[in-house]
């Protein structure tokens, strides 16, 4: 009995609940302290510029308050809607293409390639397009599609498939497909890597059980693997949509937004508004409009592809 008493903590005046609260409070403070550098960085590089953009969107160059005039000017400009349409078309081409191709490659490798060495090699190959500077990709793409000396036309001619040069960058439809193809080449590997990683998380027992029950290739994908990949599609859509809005380099190098304004995507239009027209107010208003639109779009996507099901 005396031993047991000796092992008990010395009695204090404070209530145990109060001691626990204080300890938790200290831990919370420590947690906030650890988070501070990250939050500070976000504040400096995201929040402050965003506030500056917000201020610029409602003021003139001399700082006078304009209300919503910059927004009405930006939204009244027909070039904005042309850029919006071009960006929409671009997104409609690249996003489904990249998801379908990336998913196809991921499934193919997941089901057919068993050797770890080969999988690692494919992994490295898939990473390569992601680390090449977009400007370099634009220059190479120009060597492929350029009128007169483009490699693609030369190959097609030598194969006897065409007898006259295809004007890849001059026909509005082909120009859009050409700039989109560069995006598909660069970003399909990203989709592949994400979905391939997702496929590794599918429980082996579920797949084997389905196979025992006679599930075929499609059934296995449709009812088991797709379930696990669904949140990753959301992730891919988030990232790729944000990227599509930032696409600049290869489009600028390949077509400069032409012919006319057919490949003038939102990023190019914003660049021109700010750095060619020096219309900071309108550029800032456009940036805010894009931010709000993309936030609405993201919330819609989240509803269509609910995360909690996974």
């Amino acid at each position: 009995m005396s031993r047991l008493v000796a092992e008990l903590p010395a009695p204090t005046d404070e209530h145990p609940v109060r001691v626990g609260r204080r300890r938790r409070g200290r831990q919370e403070r420590l947690a906030y302290l650890i988070l501070l550098p990250a939050l500070g960085t976000v504040f400096v590089i995201v929040t402050i510029p965003f506030i500056v953009v917000l201020i610029q969107s409602v003021t003139a160059d001399d700082g006078s308050f304009l209300g919503l005039r910059n927004f009405t000017r930006a939204l009244a400009n027909p070039l904005f809607y042309e850029a919006l349409r071009a960006t929409g078309v671009y997104a409609l081409i690249v996003l489904p293409s990249e998801i379908v191709l990336g998913l196809g490659f991921a499934l193919l490798v997941h089901r057919t390639v068993r050797r770890a060495g080969l999988r690692a090699t494919l992994y490295v190959l898939a990473v390569l397009p992601l680390v090449v500077p977009p400007v370099a990709i634009g220059v190479v793409a120009r060597l492929i599609y350029a009128p007169g000396y483009g490699v693609l036309n030369i190959i097609l001619e030598r194969l006897g498939l065409i007898h006259q040069e295809i004007q890849w960058l001059s026909n509005p439809t082909l120009a859009m497909l050409s700039v989109a193809s560069v995006d598909v080449w660069q970003w399909t590997p990203f989709v592949y890597l994400v979905l391939f990683a997702g496929l590794q998380t599918v429980p082996r027992e579920s797949v084997e059980a389905a196979q025992v029950d006679g599930a075929g290739w499609w059934t296995q994908f449709r009812y088991i693997e797709l379930f696990y990949l669904r949140p990753l599609f959301l992730l891919i859509l988030f990232f790729r949509l944000a990227d599509v809005l930032r696409v600049f380099d290869h489009v600028y190098i390949l077509t400069g937004g032409g012919p006319g304004t057919t490949t003038q995507l939102l990023s190019l239009y914003l660049y021109r508004t700010e750095f060619k027209f020096f219309d900071t107010g309108q550029a800032a208003a456009l940036a805010v409009v894009v931010l709000v639109s993309i936030s609405i779009l993201y919330s819609l996507i989240t509803r269509v592809l609910p995360l909690e099901r996974a």
């Binding site: 000017r73 007169g148 004007q167 937004g257 032409g258 012919p259 304004t261 750095f275 060619k276």
Partner: protein, 441 residues
């Protein structure tokens, strides 16, 4: 040893830190007052990357050998240099003692009051061996043509000195044609005559915005059209302007290379240099860089260079694209920077500069037979400068105007719009832009 409290320690640390961090600022402030008269150890030049600053880089060490002042050249691509200079000027930064400027940037920098006047501050005067237009293009507000409404009350000063005497000219295959084209009708006739499979009668530099704008403006002016009249009223929808753009995008396009709407200067030079095209407009840097480049061109000695042919207006008007050197207002080494520009302008030094690939502004050098042997376009450039050429409208809105106009010309070349529709649409957009900027368009 006396113990101090934590509070006292923090206080003393802060005071010591503040004293140390203010030393460079104090030293810099002391330097500011004296540096304009003292000789700096180096001058920093913000320059455009490419053929335009190459010769400057080569003569820099010669100036260093003579004066002991290092010429440090910080290079940027064209677009980056412009935005870099704008932000530096907005902050009145002292990063650069000299800056290279394309002449269409002059209105922007002049309106901003970003440069030090070279005449009143440093005693620059005009030299009779250098065409007046070379000085005029570096003067703000412009001594001729329409002046932006906000600038009309300002006193005229010289802010930039041309170091690359660029004027758009015309080139054709002299080994094929018996006579030089004197008019755009001759150009059309030659285009039709020499056009055949894989050999284009005319090359259009039609990529959207600046390329299409630069390629079409000499034709527009030679046809009597213009972007603005003398009162800033938009003239792109005038009959003359529409005729000029129709001539380029319909008549000449019949004999032009495919995908002309996606062709920039490098593609044009390639077509000429590999012997696949007969004629086009050109800039001096394209001639030395590609068309007459030993080892890469197949047409060396086969090309002739002439001023822009005449149009229905009776004039052939070239376009200036001079590169100027100016001294930013924020520079603490204004006198030394001015001395460097004066050194560059001396006849002997300009000759050395030309021998290193530079494009001169002195008429005596442009007409120098020895220099002309290696630079076959010099006589045409001398004539073009004497003509005189036009500069692009002197407005700080030029970038916006050029983007709208260059896109419209590109649309007409691509066949997306008729020339008339393209010009009407461009005129309407430019009117809105100019009105928004306070012009009476």
């Amino acid at each position: 040893m006396q113990r101090i409290t934590r509070r006292e320690f923090v206080k003393r640390t802060a005071v010591t830190g503040a004293a140390f961090t203010s030393i460079p600022a104090i030293l810099a402030a002391c330097g500011t007052g004296t540096s304009t008269s003292n000789k700096p150890s180096k001058l920093t030049v913000a320059a455009v990357q490419g053929a335009e600053d190459g010769p400057l880089k080569k003569v820099g060490p010669m100036y260093t050998a003579k004066t002991g002042i290092t010429i440090e050249i910080v290079e940027f691509p064209y677009d980056t240099l412009f935005s870099k200079l704008v932000t530096t000027f907005q902050a009145n930064g002292s990063s650069y003692d000299l800056c290279m400027m394309d002449d269409p940037w002059m209105p922007k920098f002049g309106t901003m009051g970003a440069l030090q006047p070279l005449d009143s501050n440093f005693g620059f005067t005009r030299d009779s061996d250098i065409p007046s237009i070379v000085y005029d293009v570096g003067t703000w507000p412009p001594p001729s043509g329409p002046v932006p409404p906000t600038e009309q009350s300002k006193a005229k000063h010289l802010y930039g000195i041309t170091i690359v005497g660029n004027v758009e000219m015309f080139m054709y295959r002299k080994d094929l044609a018996t006579a030089a084209p004197t008019s755009w009708d001759d150009v059309k006739a030659n285009a039709a005559r020499f056009n055949k499979a894989n050999f284009y009668g005319y090359v259009i530099r039609g990529k959207a915005t600046n390329p299409a704008s630069s390629d079409s403006l000499p034709i527009l002016w030679s046809f009597g059209g213009d972007v603005f009249d003398t009162n800033w009223k938009v003239k792109l929808d005038s009959t003359e302007s529409i005729d000029a753009i129709t001539f380029l995008t319909k008549t000449l396009k019949q004999y032009a290379e495919p995908s002309a709407d996606n062709i920039d200067a490098a593609d044009r030079d390639r077509l000429i240099a590999i012997g696949q095209a007969f004629q086009s407009t050109t800039w001096p840097a394209e001639v030395t860089g590609v068309v007459e480049a030993q080892g890469s061109s197949q047409v060396i000695g086969k090309m002739a260079y002439i001023p822009i042919p005449q149009g229905p207006s009776g004039k052939g008007i070239g376009m200036m694209g001079n590169w100027l050197l100016g001294i930013p207002k924020g520079s603490h080494n204004g006198s030394a920077a001015a001395d460097f520009i004066k050194w560059m302008l001396q006849a002997d030094n300009m000759k050395t500069y030309v021998q290193n690939g530079g494009i001169p502004t002195r008429t005596s050098l442009l007409n120098d037979a020895t220099l002309g042997q290696t630079n076959p376009y010099f006589p045409a450039l001398a004539k073009s400068l004497a003509a005189p050429p036009n500069w692009r409208p002197r407005t700080d809105q030029w970038n916006a105007v050029e983007t709208i106009y260059g896109t419209a010309v590109n649309q007409a070349i691509a066949g997306l719009k008729t020339p008339k529709d393209a010009m009407m649409s461009a005129a309407a957009q430019i009117r809105t832009t100019m009105q928004g900027a306070g012009y009476p368009s």
